[in-house]
Amino acid sequence: MSAANLRPFCRLRVAYATICAAAILSLGLALCGSSSAATLEEIKKRGYMVVTTEDDYRPFEFVQDGKPTGFDNELLELLRKEMPFEIKQEIIPWTGLLAGVSTGKYDVAVTAALITKERAQSLDFTMPIADATHYFVKRKGDTRIKDIADLNGKVLGIQAGSGLLQRLPELETMLAKTGGKIAKVVEYTSYPEAYQDLALKRTDFVINTVINLQALVNEKPEVFELGLPVTGKSYPAWAVKKGNTELLAAMNGFLGEQRKNGTMSKLQQKWFGKTFADLPESWTPEF
């Protein structure tokens, strides 16, 4: 076929490409427009609030025999009794969770979302519900790793989109002091996959909050062993869309009450195996 014969096809293709690009672009532009999360007033008027929880974030939220359970789900049960409106719960994987709150699909993320600088641009966080200083976990009996410096040349497994990714430089700085470096960072959709790969020796250590790792080690003491802290202070909290101040205040009111009446520590003891008495009222993230 000569070039002249091909020309109409080329023109057609350009036309298609233009149409497609235009369609995608206009959709994108439409997305930039306002999508509003319901304010407290709107929630009261319509009679219900939509919260979202994760489905495999033990011990905060997970599903056992088809029923949601864990620390946040127990708090949610209490919240249902306190609030004068109905609370609808959507259980979804981590991937779309915070995006769902920042786009207004859900009103509150009842999950342990780490407070980070980046997230604080699109979300407002409640008071911390726990301490989430990060530790590493290794395979039981892996004698190669005794100290932070031993993480040099080892493969790290971590959850993609997890707040810790932004704090990895902290660990890298710690390692650099002794001339060390992480060999490779493998990102997983969710932590359970990261743990499974650690057990399968595809990675050497996984970093997560001390709570999650303590729960993991309590559950499988013959497989995993808790290591050392790898970051400074960090806290997880619930989140609402940025600027939804009244709803945030209502959630803070509820959580503050649970701290005062001792329910919070009771639940922390039950699900994390320890209590966090000195949690701040609010937290401005450094990372």
Partner: protein, 215 residues
């Protein structure tokens, strides 16, 4: 794995089957309609269909699901997880079905078309009596293939919060830290579902070959 876990997996299987079958039925009809628009070269519509097929074929199902679930509400339309999942599956499979149907239509003998005109058949009647009864047989293997692909890509819809076989298995793995049993069972469940589709295809093909005048 507890009995409750097995029940969750079986419930996941029901979700996978129900959503896939719904998606397939809508997708078959929509795909055929789109293919007819292109085949008949309906001005304007034909180009739009071609553009639609290009976009959807280039979009991973996960992306499409997230787009539908989180983007449509910003146009002021509320959509729940299940309708969003069905819409994503339908839009996805319709694009591929369109091309399969179109292949069958393009291949349809022109002599027969001329014959229908010579008999004074309306285009609608010609389609119902002459074209469709032959074209669906040509397209059957391709269509069933696409159906099995749809079932296997369906875990993508879990991102909007629908608990299908794979998500149920992942949840159990996350809770027990033992991924092997739930994923083995999940694999077995998919195998059974796909087997049913292939069986139906074989049965239909056997029927076709028994018909008088079959090649």
């Amino acid at each position: 794995m507890s009995r409750g876990d097995v029940v969750s997996l079986l419930q996941g299987a029901m979700v996978t089957i129900a959503l896939s079958v719904t998606g397939i039925l809508f997708g078959l009809v929509l795909g055929l309609s789109l293919a007819l628009c292109r085949w008949a070269r309906v001005p304007g519509v034909s180009q739009l269909v071609a553009a639609y097929v290009s976009v959807v074929r280039a979009t991973p199902l996960v992306t499409l699901s997230l787009l539908i679930f989180f983007a449509i509400p910003s146009f002021g339309i509320e959509i729940d997880a299940v309708p969003a999942a069905i819409l994503a599956l339908t839009l996805n499979t319709a694009a591929f079905n369109c091309e399969i149907w179109r292949a069958g239509l393009i291949d349809f003998p022109a002599t027969q078309l001329e014959a229908t005109r010579a008999f004074g058949m309306s285009p609608f009647l010609a389609f119902r009596r002459i074209i469709f009864p032959q074209v669906w047989k040509t397209c059957l293997p391709g269509l069933v293939n696409e159906m099995t692909l749809l079932v296997k890509s369906s875990p993508a819809i879990a991102v909007v919060g629908v608990v299908d076989i794979t998500r149920a298995a992942a949840r159990i793995g996350a809770q027990t830290y033992e991924p092997l049993p739930p994923f083995l069972l999940a694999t077995a469940l998919y195998f059974i579902v796909i087997l049913v589709f292939v069986r139906v295809q074989r049965t239909l093909e056997a029927r076709i070959s028994e018909e008088p005048g079959a090649a």
